[in-house]
Amino acid sequence: MTGEPLAVDYYIPIILFLVMGAIVPIVALAAVKIISPLRPNRRKASVYEGGLKPVRDPKIRFNVQYYLFAIVFVIFDVEVLFLYPWIYVYASEFMKRFVIFGFINMAVIEMVLFIAVLVVGLLYAIKKEALRWV
């Protein structure tokens, strides 16, 4: 895009999406409002909990441990995700140029460093008992 004037044409689909995105919910909600009969009662207005009678107030507090688990999970999830493109680069001709001591691929060293940092974090989480459910 360097140096050339902005072509507005590129943006017309996006504007169309925006306009349609705004129209569809309005039309859908309005249609429901007009067509459907509105006869509320207690059972209908209650909170949906799998079809059963709700047992308590839905506004409960989540245990902070959910977050700890979620954070640790996300970190290692991303790590695995990151390994896939890494494999592709590792096997490429390009990385053959970056070999030290004759046989160690730089990509391996970088991945070992990356995982080592995460492992220290995992050890920390385990030792601090962040992963023990209480």
Partner: protein, 490 residues
């Protein structure tokens, strides 16, 4: 392929490795070992040596980090600040539960700042910014008192908002120019100027201005510096704030090349308002840490005069001795940053000392606790006095020399009104600095004489030596700053 190629990044590698090691030691010893503090101290000293001996002018990781005079100057400032804070923290945190985490976070924050100072790519700049910010968010709440948590929450919310602004600006710059490299963005925007680039730059500058605490983005600073642990406030005011300047100086290059408009006027107003508001509000504060916070806002205003002069300095404009004016102004900004980092760290360590003896008072940082400090804690009081004078810009201290060069560059750049305003502001600032000094020496002591903590005294004295060294023998530091400026603005 040769690993020696990465030698100039040895300081970062060392500090990162030691920060992980500190975490592991803390886990194995259940936080009781006093090794983390001393290990961090040793790592920072060695890293300082590595920064000074590193070969400059090399680029790493596909043009995303550059080791040059500019980055080494800032790295030296960051390591110096962390070193002073670590020495002062030894008695307070080392060997206590959680001490290992404190030192690990401090080292990680230092690495983040160092990455920012050598980043020439917007992505690595952002990563460094976030590493330093996230570590300091946690540190601001470290003692877990109610005040700490409030300070950390405010810091976190403002910091998150500023990151969002910055990132939005970065994404727009990338969208306009198709590159995240600062140099490529600069040349692309020079080739085809687009008003959207101006908007993007405003977003980026607002993001940095939050970190630099320029008015009107300064609201978080006094509350955070007051509420966070005093030693962490030292790191925030002296280290993390300078990181904002390092990033702004790097990115301002784009603005310099792309926008030869009257944009410097916006920065001139920002600088003038920042120093005036900072100094005026400081006069009404009774909490010493709030006074220091507002004084650091005012100092940010003085430093941003360098941006203004960079904006007006055209080809061939020269300062004294035929030095190029833009380099002269940037060198002045750098000297002010170096001096301010040392003085502010010292002053905040002084408040930590006072707060530790006035624990039972309702507000440990209230100015009434400083009454008669000259007799209660002579070393702390003396050092604090010198730092106050240095912050006001009295010769022969670091504060004087930095201000001299910056204000001088404004006059050479034809911005006499700004220089006059800055000098008037310095005179005004004497009021609240001397108020603290008069409390320390002219009032009856608020309590008996106390024994000063060794760690605090040692780092206060180190900061004192630094303050005088720059003030008395400025030539070497000036040459160093000129070299750093020449690396950024050839």
């Amino acid at each position: 392929m040769d690993l020696g190629h990465y030698a100039p990044l040895g300081a970062e590698a060392l500090i990162t490795a030691v920060s992980l090691l500190v975490v592991l030691i803390g886990l194995l010893s259940k936080g009781k070992s006093s090794l983390p503090g001393y290990l961090s101290l040793a790592a920072l000293v060695v890293a300082m040596g590595l920064v000074f001996t590193a070969e400059t002018g090399t680029v790493f990781f596909y043009d995303s980090l550059r080791v040059d005079g500019f980055s080494q100057f800032f790295k030296a400032v960051f390591i110096l600040v962390s070193l002073l804070v670590v020495i002062a923290s030894l008695t307070r945190y080392n060997g206590r539960p959680g001490g290992d985490e404190y030192f690990a976070l401090l080292l990680m924050a230092t690495v983040g700042m160092m990455v920012v100072s050598s980043a020439i790519d917007l992505v690595s700049l952002f990563i460094g910014f976030e590493l330093a910010s996230l570590s300091t968010y946690a540190m601001a709440a470290f003692d877990k008192t109610k005040k700490n948590l409030e300070a950390a929450m405010k810091y976190f919310l403002y910091g998150a908002a500023s990151s969002a602004f910055m990132l939005f600006g970065f994404s727009m710059l990338y969208g306009m120019t198709g590159s995240t490299k600062i140099a490529e963005i600069a040349s692309a925007s020079l080739a085809a100027f687009n008003p959207a680039i101006l908007i993007a730059l405003i977003f980026v500058i607002v993001g940095f201005a939050f970190k630099m605490a320029l008015v009107p983005f300064h609201m978080w600073a006094p509350d955070t510096y007051e509420g966070a642990p005093a030693l962490v406030s030292a790191l925030l005011a002296a280290g993390s704030k300078k990181m904002g300047f390092a990033a702004a100086f790097r990115v301002i290059l784009i603005a310099l090349l792309a926008l030869k408009l009257e944009w410097y006027m916006a920065f001139a107003i920002l600088a003038a308002v920042t120093m005036t508001v900072g100094n005026l509000i400081a006069c009404w504060q009774n909490n010493v840490r709030r006074i220091l916070a507002y004084s650091s806002i005012a100092q940010a205003g003085y430093i941003s005069i360098a941006f203004v002069v960079l904006g007006v300095a055209s080809e061939g404009m020269t300062g004294p001795n035929n030095l190029p004016l833009n380099q002269y102004a940037l060198a002045g900004g750098l000297l002010l940053i170096l001096g301010h980092a040392i003085m502010k760290t010292g002053a905040f360590i002084g408040t930590a000392q006072v707060a530790s003896i006035a624990k039972n008072s309702e507000d440990p940082d209230d100015i009434s606790n400083y009454a008669g400090l000259g007799r209660r804690a002579p070393v702390t009081a003396f050092c604090m006095t010198i730092f106050m004078f240095a912050l006001a810009g009295i010769p022969p201290t670091a504060g004087y020399f930095g201000k001299f060069v910056v204000f001088g560059s404004a006059i050479y750049g034809g911005l006499v009104w700004l220089a006059v305003l800055a000098i008037l502001n310095s005179a005004l600032s004497l009021y609240y600095y001397l108020r603290i000094v008069s409390y320390m020496y002219l009032r009856e002591p608020a309590g008996p004489r106390i024994s000063e903590s060794k760690g605090y005294v040692f780092s206060l004295l180190l900061a004192l030596i630094g303050t005088f060294w720059i003030g008395v023998l400025p030539q070497g530091f000036f040459n160093w700053a000129m070299q750093a400026a020449a690396a950024l603005l050839p």
